[in-house]
């Protein structure tokens, strides 16, 4: 199965999503350094090709179940940047109205199931979404993300086994950024790749270079087509690297400078820009234009978040139970 051919407009849209995601997270780092935001920021800088490439082109009814570094997937799925920024700021216009931070929320109307900090425990819930679609004979799919660190959590095994038995319309995207907080891949795995585990469950596992937007997109589209056709799940492992520490306070001294430089040289954005330039879809002027556009969008998002009111204390007691 070939991935659908992308139009020039679609390529431009993906480029925008990549740049917006990067600009958003760079701004978060800056705001964090300035002491302007509370709590942890879990940067996905360096991994944007995965989140954008895998979430691009999904239907509104399809679901994503992102993790803490998957801001790009939320943007692609249609969560407004201002709302996401207000969420990070803990303001009332955030998805969780100040109840929790960062990506621990979601929006069912946009097809987003936000995770908790128990990484990997989103996968059984993602299976439940896919099982619901199956019960209704709908061909919507779920793209569920997890890191290689979470791959060793029991829920991931339970979910993959269940998805295989039920031939669910789900795509598991493993973002293997080589370190789970400080723990390198070799200390957590005795196998060369996470994707080989798919064999044990009885569905395809593929290994994709995660810094190549179009390769991630193509692999995901093949898996999505398979899922929509009722042929069951696929595990896509995307090798990548996170540039920042586990969270912004982590200096990541457990990694070598060479390693970081090597991966920074493989930055997914210039790589995609070269492709667009070759296709005459990008030049210096349009690139600068995009830079200005995403900066403007982020400024607006920050302004929206800053002007959003703080929730009031007693609101802490609301939303615990449905009426």
């Amino acid at each position: 199965m070939r991935a659908p051919k992308l139009s020039d407009d679609q390529l431009q849209e993906m480029y925008h999503a990549l740049r917006l995601s990067r600009a958003f997270e760079e701004r978060l780092s800056l705001l964090h350094r300035q002491g302007k935001i509370l709590g942890g920021i879990y940067s996905g800088i360096g991994q944007e090709a995965i989140t954008v490439g895998s979430a691009y082109g999904l239907r509104r009814e399809d679901f994503i179940s992102p993790l803490h570094r998957d801001l790009g997937a939320l943007l692609v799925k249609g969560v407004p940047p201002g709302v996401l920024m207000a969420q990070v700021f803990g303001k009332r216009d955030g998805l969780s109205r100040g109840k929790d931070s960062y990506l621990h929320s979601g929006d069912t109307s946009l097809g987003v199931y936000g995770n908790t900090s128990m990484l990997g425990s989103n996968l059984p819930v993602a299976c439940g979404l896919a099982y619901g679609f199956k019960l209704r004979s709908q061909d919507h799919v779920v793209v569920a993300y997890f890191g290689e660190g979470a791959a060793n959590y029991g829920d991931v095994h339970e979910a993959m086994n269940f998805a295989a038995i039920q031939r669910l319309g789900i795509v598991f995207v493993c973002e293997n950024n080589l370190y789970a907080y400080s723990t390198p891949f070799e200390k957590a795995f005795a196998i060369p790749e996470v994707s080989v585990r798919a064999q044990a469950y009885g569905f395809p596992g593929v290994d994709v270079y995660g810094n190549d937007l179009l390769r991630v997109y193509a692999a995901t589209q093949r898996a999505i087509a398979r899922a929509r056709a009722g042929e069951g799940p696929t595990l896509i492992e995307c090798k990548t690297f996170r540039w920042h520490g586990h969270s912004e306070h982590d200096k990541a001294s457990y990694r070598t400078e060479e390693e970081l430089l090597e991966w920074k040289a493989r930055d997914p954005i210039p790589q995609f820009e070269r492709y667009l330039t070759e296709k005459r879809l990008l030049n210096d002027a349009s690139r600068d234009e995009m830079t200005a556009r995403v900066e403007r969008e982020i400024d607006e998002a920050v302004a929206f978040a800053e002007s959003s009111p703080w929730p009031e204390g007693p609101e802490a007691l609301e939303d615990i139970y449905a009426p």
Partner: protein, 336 residues
């Protein structure tokens, strides 16, 4: 095979009452489906779902692998898009294996969505001792979940309540843990309501009126409490009021206060172990809110802090509350 249909006055077992509630709710609402281990063709470890596959199909009577975490997670995910799943933990003890999904995913979902999402799932937990089940088939873990906001917890004592509360739980928009007591399945019979009889969550029930002291209890312990109260009336002409909480979260605090203010004495009886059990909350609440009304110490009759339940009959009988122990405690309290 449909449940033993009949008039609302027909007496059925506690087990049959649960079966009727499930069956009728699945008939009533396409969004309701069941999932759990061995619940399909086999009909469940206790035969609650016997005949469901024939009527509702495999997709709505979903046999799952031994993956409790996945069972709870799948229920939660399906609830996000409009289903009302009823998950069975084959034994309530096994919910520990799905604990994270219950307390961190399902319980917090509405809160972290800023109130924009409902999570209508029911988790049925066959619980309780007195059946020589040993340490892993006898537990009463309800207090773990009463302590976690975002969850509702029910524990029915009679067929009528079992049916009505399960219907209410299925129709409720929150995650509800439903602790059905295995020891009552075939031992207790009684009338049940019809297809539209719902017992509201959060409302306690006076199972025996009285004016001399209040016994606050729930689940299987309602029955020995009623026996002890009857014996107390016979032996000493003392009328104990037996208040069945029915729902442990949210707790019907008003009903507790009303009864305690009437009787001025309170004994709390539960099968779960003592420390930080539901009785501890009831006792603290009564002490905070009705201290001036009390005319005696707050008394608790519970299983001591041992694992539920030791296997050998003499050990199990030694630790569990029973009519005799409750009677002795009530008599002492009445005489205070």
């Amino acid at each position: 095979m449909p449940p033993e249909a009949g008039r609302s006055t027909d007496e059925v077992t506690y087990l049959e009452a649960i079966r009727q509630a499930l069956w009728e709710e699945m008939e009533r609402d396409e969004a309701v489906f069941c999932l759990g281990e061995d619940i399909g063709a086999y009909g469940g470890a206790f035969q609650i779902t016997k005949g469901f596959v024939e009527r509702f199909g495999e997709a709505r009577t979903l046999d799952t692998p031994i993956s409790e975490s996945c069972i709870v997670g799948v229920a939660t995910g399906a609830a996000l898009i409009g289903f009302r799943p009823v998950a069975e933990m084959q034994f309530g003890d096994f919910i520990a294996c799905g604990f994270d999904q219950v307390v961190n995913q399902a319980a917090t979902l509405r809160y972290r969505y800023g109130g924009r999402q409902t999570v209508p799932i029911v988790i049925r937990c066959p619980c309780g001792a007195g059946v020589h089940g040993g340490l892993y088939h006898s537990q009463q873990p309800e207090a773990w979940f009463v302590h976690r906001p975002g969850l509702k917890v029910v524990a029915p004592a009679t067929p009528y309540d079992a049916k009505g509360l399960l219907k209410a739980a299925i129709r409720d928009d929150n995650p509800v843990l439903y602790f059905e007591h295995k020891g009552l399945y075939r031992r207790i019979k009684g009338p049940v309501g019809d297809a539209e009889t719902v017992v509201p969550l959060g409302v306690a029930d006076i199972k025996r009126p009285g004016d001399a002291l209040t016994v606050v209890t729930y689940g299987a312990m309602v029955h020995p409490c009623l026996e002890a109260a009857a014996r107390l009336a016979d032996a000493e002409s003392v009328e104990a009021e037996v208040l069945d909480l029915r729902t442990l979260a949210p707790l019907d605090r008003e009903a507790i206060l009303t009864s305690v203010r009437k009787t001025s004495k309170v004994a709390i009886v539960h099968e779960a172990s003592r420390t930080c059990g539901v009785g501890a909350e009831v006792a603290a609440f009564v002490a905070e809110e009705a201290f001036e009304d009390l005319d005696g110490p707050i008394v608790r009759v519970t299983t001591p802090d041992v694992h539920l339940a030791p296997f050998s009959p003499p050990l199990e009988e030694y630790v569990l509350p029973n009519t005799e122990k409750i009677f002795a405690a009530l008599r002492k309290l009445a005489a205070y």
